[in-house]
Symmetry: C2
Subunit: 370 residues, 2 copies
């Protein structure tokens, strides 16, 4: 999407040197926009591990480009030593975020693609086209989520012509988490680009504030009207008719329709239900879990460090300062995700279309999983 009026993806090959991968370093956002060059596997691994980039789709795409860089730099004296180096680099990349499913998938796809050809120059070439394909597919899946999801916004818009459609979102399932468009935000960008007046209520999303930092920034850069709110506010807005629909992303969606997403999503889904506001979840099918049935009982919820609750960083006099919010000795707990039961989800928006958040609905769109 746009930054300062120019179209960007979150990752790309440098225009003047296709041996260099460029990313938007997301850590200084929203206060500084910095493009970072990645030229070695070590740099790619650090960018993933230290979260210069984050988000399921983008982590996968970055790993894909990482394997292309690995191929560029692997020794060319023999196929065996080339492959040995690739195997080592694959391990390094896969160890950066061990729970990221897309990461392992992208690395293995690259290894399989390169194994298809014998010649080293061809291996490098195929690594490049595969990296591009992984990124293109991610963007295309998100674009389709936008295409399907915008119909929901159009329907509401037809009922209140000319009026602004208010959409609430939680966390960042925006283009910064993918290669382009995002999932939750894809229908919003599509509506905005079609000229439908939309406005987004951006949950700040404590404790890591992905909403206040990233979603607000990307919407602002693309020119989408939005307002940042504390996570406490959404229920009040829904009680007063100020939310037409909710769209969130998801970290894992069970084939029964239960949705694990950023902590706090469940509370917004409860408020949506209580006020007859439709609650949608945007996702590429790669986030489906085809094994588990009961989200609350079966999905393990990551607990992160308490310092993320007790301290917060922000801009201060041109730099960044981290301040303590609580009594120094008070303990804090930091659950990263919660589960929204399928009964609270109006529908899922996938790259194949919109379906009910139920076993029947999901398997109807993905019959090959029956």
């Amino acid at each position: 999407m746009n930054v300062d009026g120019k179209h960007y993806r979150t990752i790309w090959l440098k225009e003047t040197d296709d041996r260099v991968v460029q990313i938007i370093d997301q850590r200084p956002l929203p206060h500084q926009f910095i493009i970072e060059d990645l030229t070695t596997v070590t740099e790619v691994a650090r960018a993933i591990k230290e979260m210069h980039i984050r988000g399921a789709g983008l982590v996968g795409a970055t790993a894909g480009y990482g394997m292309y860089i690995a191929a560029l730099h692997a020794p060319r004296n023999s196929v065996a030593t080339f492959n040995a180096q690739l195997a080592e680099d694959a391990k390094i990349l896969m160890a950066t975020r061990p729970t990221a499913v897309n990461l392992e998938w992208a690395v293995k796809r690259q290894l399989a693609a390169m194994a298809e050809v014998a010649n080293l120059t061809e291996k490098i070439q195929i690594a490049k086209t595969t990296a591009q394909a992984i990124a293109d597919e991610d963007a295309e899946f998100c674009r389709r989520i936008g295409e399907h999801g915008v119909s929901l916004i159009e329907q509401i818009s037809q009922r209140k012509p000319g009026q602004t459609i208010n959409i609430l979102t939680h966390c960042n399932a925006g283009w910064l988490a993918f290669v382009d468009y995002g999932t939750a935000t894809a229908p919003v960008y599509a509506a905005h680009d079609k000229g439908i007046p939309v406005h987004v209520w951006v949950d700040e999303t404590r404790p890591r504030n992905q909403g206040a930092r990233l979603t607000a920034w990307e919407l602002g850069q693309h020119g989408v009207p939005h307002t940042v709110i504390a996570d406490n506010v959404g229920g009040h807005l829904m009680q007063h008719g100020q939310v037409d629909l909710v769209i969130t992303g998801t970290d894992r969606t069970l084939y029964t329709g239960d949705v694990a997403n950023k902590i706090g999503t469940y509370l917004k889904a409860l408020a949506a239900k209580d006020n007859d506001v439709p609650f949608y979840v945007g996702l590429p099918s790669s986030t489906f879990d085809w094994e588990k049935r009961d989200g609350v009982a079966e999905i393990p919820i990551e607990q992160r460090d308490a310092t993320e609750v007790k301290y917060i960083a922000g801009a201060h006099e041109g730099g960044t300062k981290t301040v303590l919010l609580t009594p120094e000795n008070s303990p804090a707990a930091n659950y990263a995700f919660d589960v929204t039961p399928a009964r609270l989800v109006t529908a899922l928006i996938t790259e194949r279309g919109i379906c009910e958040a139920s076993e029947d609905g999901i398997l109807g769109l993905y019959p090959e999983k029956r």
Copy 2:
């Protein structure tokens, strides 16, 4: 309650000089504990207006002591000039927080009490005893809320003997908001002091973080086990049986049972309902609204400055720093309260006892309002 092992109220007359009112300056909490002397009406007015103290009960008590200080310093050449000065000081005090009901009530109670006697020395004496009485009554009402409310904790404790009872609270309806005990926290302190093992989940309560700053501090100082959590977390905890009951305070309670409290309370009430967790509200009867019937439709919700959402202050290297959390140009909205409909409230805990959050329940305890 206790601070560093010593019992404090939030306001008192200085032990060595009863012409001086002392308060705990709540602004530097939880990072610094500072006792402030108030010796003039100007100082009292500033302490209320600039929120050195806050909370319905404490604002009322401070205004009561403010009128005592006014009486001490009013000219004694004639009753007329004495009264004229008092009337002026009353106006100054009432203008500090125009929407605080207890403030006006305390000032008028002082004026009426002083009007009962003719002699200036007696007027000053009665102003002193009335100020003390207002503070004592506030503490006593909160103590009784604790006495009634602790029975609810005891009942749960009997079902799981020896096990810790987990209580979730939102914002600060603690002793710092009153003269002592608090409302939501009164049953917690009572249970803790009786030796029932309790643990409090403290919602940080964005954007002003009264939970993370004040509730965590006061619980910690009194030795009550507690854990600070982001406002997003309560629903997840309830889904996993980690909350036995919720107790919050209230800023205004309709006689129909609808509760206006700090923004985000409604979301926790929804989660409590969804998980069969009892949701209680502690209140002195002074917060009842005997006129309005429908909270969502009729209670006006204050909107505060967007800077409270976009910026946050915290401790940094021995001082306090304020940092920017959002893109500088992103708008933010800051609704201060929301309304929890009576249907989500299990019961109210008042100084007279526990009642259903309904017209019948409330008028049953307060039959004089029928």
